[in-house]
Subunit: 447 residues, 2 copies
């Protein structure tokens, strides 16, 4: 028969069994933390009507989208989880309770140019809180707490959540008479960390026509080591700025109450986030030892989630973690923790007799106590069986030979230490559980 060459598309992540276990651990912990904060799951289709997904239209999105027809319908794969949320909130407005808190962890699709570390199919792990007409600032203060607890639960230790407020930036730009150019100034300021203050100043003055002194004063302010104190000098001069300062203060004030250590949080007036639709708080999260990766969790406050679908005003706040890219980076940096062992089973049973009945009975007993057990069924040589155990990385191998069966016992090898001992059958589960519990503190990320 002619064979088709098996291949996986470029830009589509497909993990090895052990890596998949590690990926799933990270995904599950994120979901668990999201749930702790009262976010409920949502699972919208990956395929939507193209007209719905492209309601906003324009720009990079249309170029990157996977779009196709089927039975006369114009369809597309979702390119983020925000547009489907907007559709969902508009479509089910009458059935939903607002504020509506949802998390969604799912695959999205962007036909970007394939390059190392860039994916065309990738997971986003999003949370959003969507209000009906209004949404209290406390929700914006809660977001850094979710970010902190999520990454802390994953085992990350050296990261910083940076928070800014678009109203502060907008108010300052107003004050400086930049009203019409506000959006361009915002985008320029957003590049500050990347291109440095001199180039930023040059763009502000040469391209956007700011006076040298104003540009310098703005950059000094934005980079001030004590931004709230620096902002105080501008208070009472512009209502938008005042509101922004108040919101930033409210967020900072609640950090301790939300359990976010001071070291992990900072107000950073230089971040702006590129997206036009943010109107209040904006968030970025950086790994302190890997600033080159950029933000691993970003988002912000928006005033009108579903404006393309409904007249209802649905303000909200949300963040997104690019999970596939994060996982790729963690693997590249050697930051995936191999403890506990990313194995498909806790115990591998190696029957040494033709009758597999005793192995079946033991596997059933172990499983009934919550242990993941696998019976190695193939009549191979001992060496091949042990090679299999090594390859799947199982932490415990259980031998059931004639002697063990006659004695109602099992020989258990701890694959980590290499130690082997024979125990009565009914002590096997507890022994393995104790061993596993000793490793259970391990988090998916090591730093």
């Amino acid at each position: 028969m002619n064979k088709i060459k098996p291949r996986t598309l470029s830009g589509f992540m497909e993990l090895s069994p052990r890596r998949q276990i590690q990926f799933d651990r990270i995904r599950d912990i994120l979901a668990q933390v999201y749930r702790l904060y009262g976010f409920g799951p949502l699972d919208t289709p990956a395929v939507e009507a193209a007209e719905v997904l492209l309601a906003k239209g324009g720009g990079e999105t249309e170029k990157q989208i996977y779009r196709f027809t089927k039975g006369g319908s114009d369809l597309a794969l979702r390119f983020d989880l925000t547009v489907p949320l907007a559709k969902y909130a508009a479509l089910h407005y009458n059935e939903l309770a607002f504020p509506f808190r949802r998390y969604q962890i799912g695959k999205v699709y962007r036909g970007e140019r394939a390059q190392r570390g860039r994916f065309r199919e990738f997971y986003q792990a999003d949370i959003d809180i969507v209000g009906d007409g209004k949404l209290d600032i406390l929700n914006e203060a809660e977001i850094p707490a979710v970010i902190y607890h999520a990454f802390a639960a994953l085992g990350l230790r050296r990261f910083k959540i940076r928070v800014n407020n678009r109203k502060v930036l907008g108010g300052l730009f107003d004050l400086m008479g930049l009203g019409e150019k506000s959006a361009e100034v915002m985008r320029t300021v957003d590049k500050l960390e990347k291109i440095g203050p001199d180039k930023t100043a040059a763009i502000l003055t040469e391209e956007l026509g700011m006076a040298q002194d104003d540009a310098r004063a703005l950059l000094d302010l934005l980079q001030s080591p004590d931004p709230m104190a620096a902002l105080a000098a501008y208070q009472g001069k512009n209502p938008l700025l005042d509101q922004g300062i108040e919101e930033l203060s409210a967020i900072a004030r609640h950090m301790e109450g939300f359990g976010v250590p001071a070291d992990f949080f900072m107000i950073d007036l230089t971040i702006a986030r590129g997206l036009d639709y943010y109107t209040g708080s904006v968030y970025e999260t950086v790994m302190l030892d890997h600033p080159e990766i950029g933000s691993i969790c970003s988002g912000g406050r928006y005033d009108n989630l579903a404006e393309y679908y409904t007249d209802k005003q649905l303000p909200g706040v949300g963040i997104s973690i690019g999970l596939t890219r994060l996982f790729y980076v963690l693997e590249e940096q050697g930051m995936l923790n191999d403890q506990p062992a990313p194995a498909p089973a806790d115990a591998l049973l190696l029957p040494m007799t033709a009758d597999l009945g005793p192995a079946v009975a033991l596997a059933t007993a172990l499983r009934s106590q919550g242990l993941r057990a696998q019976i190695y069924t193939e009549p191979k040589k001992f060496k091949a069986k042990m090679a299999y155990a090594d390859k799947i990385g199982v932490p415990y191998v259980l031998f059931l030979g004639e002697d063990e069966i006659a004695a109602g016992a099992v020989s258990i090898k701890d694959m980590g230490s290499g130690l082997q001992q024979t125990l009565p059958l009914d002590q096997a589960a507890a022994f393995i559980q104790q061993g596993l519990a000793a490793q259970a503190g391990g988090k998916p990320i090591k730093e």
Copy 2:
């Protein structure tokens, strides 16, 4: 602004928040049971090269597939999880440990004619054990155990796993001289339950040319109340039949050891499964009170998983649960359990003061003890707040008014019983945890 009408495509399931929680519970329990049996997770892309997905080609598959081009590449959405597994096993043959046990729960796509209860995007929850060259019969015996424990863990009580063996059928057909028509007879027999013995006999005689007596003898045998005893009369006459009988016996023999109660398992010679590639055991699972739904979990043994991609012989055994359809049926039948409450939070905090600090502190304390807590942040009237609590179905509402704050206490309302009491702050978590634990036995399905 012109609005786009928000809509979700027909045939694409999109659940309400409470239903999504119930769906996720079912999905997570299936994954957990699969893991107990030593299956590791796999997550292949939803998009593959069309050439790869359609390697087998032909038939309904090609008509139903979502196929499109992007940047010159001919792509398609996967229509099952078996073809991607075959590709994965062939592509990563050298890195995998065989027998390779994987589970995959993911969405697949089929552009079927839309009708009630039929989905174009739906979850399959699959397990497969793939051997390298050989695979012991014990693996086929383990499959009913996984099916039993999966549905039992979901709360299903009245179901039956039916097992047959294609070698038995093939051997019998050989014996009766039907060699060339074997596949057609197999398909006819598979319809027996649906169309009844008379129509089946008519097809066998009139269309497939069997003698009246032979057809009747075959149908009597297949429908025998004691199939193993009935088969014994045919033993020693055909090697394929003998092997099939031996395999069926081995499976039946191990059911008790694998913890499958006799009531939940039967050998049923009338099931054949339509797919050509099964070569040994075949499985179906029916809900006893809803036979009209058909099999909710099916699969079988195959000899050559990846023949379109590789010369390696990869025999295996697997089953698939059509999760989206199962969920749809359970909802239709009123079989989804509302206990424990499918709410996005265990506790909803209602601050009654302008200062939200005490609510933030309490929410943080509850979350640190593993409770899912949400603060209701909007300055609405009491009635609106309670309506919100009702709508999200939260089991406990916590009031923090001035009196409570002054006393270091919180008033907790059990939304199930309507009872309300005031407790010291540091007893709140334990109180709620006790209440939740009392409900925790609830399984996702009630019968």
